[in-house]
Amino acid sequence: MLEKNINFVEAALKEYYFNNFELIHVPSRTSEREFGYQKFNSGMTRHLTIKNDKDLHFLLMTQMPSDVYCSNACYSFPNLPMSEKDWKEAELIFDIDAKDLKLDCRKNHTCFKCNSCQCINEQSSKCIKCNSDKFDVISVTCQNCISETKKEVQKLVQVLTEDLAINKEKILVYFSGNEGFHVHIENSEYQTLDSRERADLADYIMFNGVIPETLGINRQNNSKMLLPDIGEKGWRGRVAREIFGTKSKRPKIIQEILLGGYSAFQSRLEEMRHTIGVRIDPKVTMDIHRIFRLGGSINSKSGLSKILCKDLENFDPFSDACLLGDEKVEVLANYPISFRLKNKKYGPYVGETISVPKHAAVYMICKGLADVTQ
């Protein structure tokens, strides 16, 4: 990022933190957590300990980090190197990101910034100006992306509460600050699970690795008695509701399944991963040594806040998580696609100098779509 952009964004973030200390807190069991942060154009500083909110706020003011992280794990010695930390347990976490959902809308709000001449391309084969083939992918998020990721979060919450018996009050849904949601589970019986065990739990949630026998379809001698019923709990019930729909269609569909045989049913289950399975990022759930973006902090990929969603259905990240100031700032913007922030439409811009509110200026600079003019 350009020096002048960094100075501007750092100042905007510092102002946000100064005015919003009540939004950003250290988590429980503070002294057992590993903290880390990043500054613009530099690497990650990890293995830190922070005692309390006051120390955290001090760090935000003095270091002016672009991003702040904290472990979901608790350690005996969080500031020692990983092999000496002595891992105790880790909260269960889930990451649902719009870019993993492969939505059709994606191509409408994605463009490619050439690495050598910085010009914006709509395709990623060859730069229209300099023929280079190295690009940064730039994407803004649309309402459709957000509503589709919300659906995944709702599916996740359903599996967590019904199948895993996790109390709803313990499920904290955060907007990630960019393109999706982070789900934190406070204090559950699953905290002691290791990485491999979490991987199998993730497969469960994603409906990965299911075999037809589980749904009552065997390689031979099939009987409709073994097929799932829509009233059943867990995945059998979900599969039944997905394939049978209403009661009246059931006999006909059962006939088709029994005639279709094992491998046809297997591929059908495979496809169902995308419809009834929850599309979490399993790598995040499996990683028990991760430092994870701290709630209340700004995501430097967008300038939006990672913020708790108390009412997911009505949550609108483009206003509820857009918490930087409104003062006008002049930027040189270059972006062929429009986006909305705080109910105002921006773009498309073709190398234009424009005056926009600070939150929009930071958003565009963080996305690599604009530069400050001074």
Binding site: D163, E189, L201, V210, E213, T214
Partner: protein, 346 residues
């Protein structure tokens, strides 16, 4: 800890209660020199011999004193012989024997208890199964209607070590924080821990004095171990992946099918016969002699269509987490090349 009746202790003689039992009986090592003890020593010896063949000692809990004492004396014999493979096989066989009783106890739990005969005995067998699983492995088995269930986290911690897809959580019946399992499946989950527990018990015993009357049988055990160690040829010339596979099988742990395939194709490529290879699989948790022979013959190309299978490449084994490369593996692309390549520019 549990308070078990003597018949229950006869099923699980590796429990700490056996110590109390021996104290109550006034048992001491010196008295074992008495010829009256000969039948118990013989039974103990038999118990070990059965274990070394990979079979499960049947036992007779109608005669609980003999049952408990032959276990204790078995350990004294093993300690005197001091051969760790014998200890391992003994603890494995004893674990399998205990599994049967644990399963029986859980089965009794699932039945309508009002129509059971010998209600008191059945009740004891249920309680000891539940308590052993709870106290030794910290798993609480609960019952709902006639179904058994355990917490999901307790399930995952064990089931992830099994490779078969039916053990994946997604292929289990899961409801409200529980996994529903059969009695057999619950006991299967704790097999490894039970074996480790019994083995650690054997390790922890120290024998200060060996009665004269034991010497002959101790000598027999040493001979037995020699004879039986020749059935498994572990050559130092084997590549680490093959050694690892043999070790896993030898410990009675589960080796995935891809691992068994690698082992079989490797040894066949090295000129061993199906008859020589088959005994390697004897300790596998799901061993079946006929099936194993059939599968080996199939891989060797001596049955069916006669396709001969070759050993998978190092790359393939890496992707299946079966590769344990060491510096000597440098420059080979298939385990069968191990030890045959020499660095040309050395």
């Amino acid at each position: 800890m549990l308070q078990l009746g003597i018949k229950e202790l006869a099923k699980y003689p590796f429990l700490a209660e056996t110590g109390d039992y021996l104290r109550d009986k006034g048992f001491n090592l010196e008295q074992l020199s008495d010829p009256d003890w000969k039948p118990v020593v013989e039974k103990a010896y038999g118990r070990i011999v059965v274990a070394t063949t990979g079979q499960i000692y049947g036992g007779d809990i109608e005669n609980p004193d003999l049952e408990i004492l032959s276990f204790v004396i078995g350990i004294i014999l093993l300690k005197s012989a001091g051969i760790s493979t014998l200890n391992r096989r003994f603890s494995l066989a004893e674990a399998r024997r205990a599994e049967r009783y644990l399963e029986q106890g859980l089965n009794a739990l699932q039945k309508d208890r009002t129509i059971l005969e010998n209600l008191k005995l059945k009740e004891e067998s249920i309680q000891s199964s539940l308590k052993i699983i709870q106290d030794l492995f910290s798993i609480q088995v609960e019952m709902e209607d006639d179904r058994l269930k355990i917490r999901i986290a307790d399930y995952l911690k064990r089931a992830v070590h099994f490779n078969e897809r039916e053990w994946k959580l997604v292929n289990r019946q899961v409801e409200s924080g529980y996994v529903y399992l059969s009695s057999h499946e619950i006991v299967r989950l704790v097999r490894k821990e039970l074996d480790v527990y019994i083995n650690s018990k054997i390790q922890s015993v120290s024998v200060s004095f060996i009665p004269e009357t034991f010497r002959e049988r101790v000598g027999d055990l040493v001979l037995l171990a020699k004879k039986f160690s020749t059935t498994v040829i572990v050559s130092s010339d084997y590549p680490p992946c093959v050694k690892h596979a043999i070790e896993v099988l030898d410990k009675g742990e589960n080796l995935p099918h891809s691992g068994r395939f690698m082992l079989a194709t490797y040894l066949l490529a090295k000129g061993q016969t199906v008859e020589q290879i088959a005994p390697l699989f004897k300790n596998a948790p799901d061993y079946n002699e006929r099936v194993t022979k059939y599968q080996l013959e199939h891989i060797a190309g001596s049955s069916g269509k006669g396709t001969k299978y070759v050993c998978p490449s190092c790359e393939k084994l890496k992707s299946e987490n079966l590769c344990f490369a060491i510096p000597e593996c440098d420059g080979i692309i298939n385990p069968v090349q191990f030890g045959t390549r020499r660095k040309t520019n050395a």
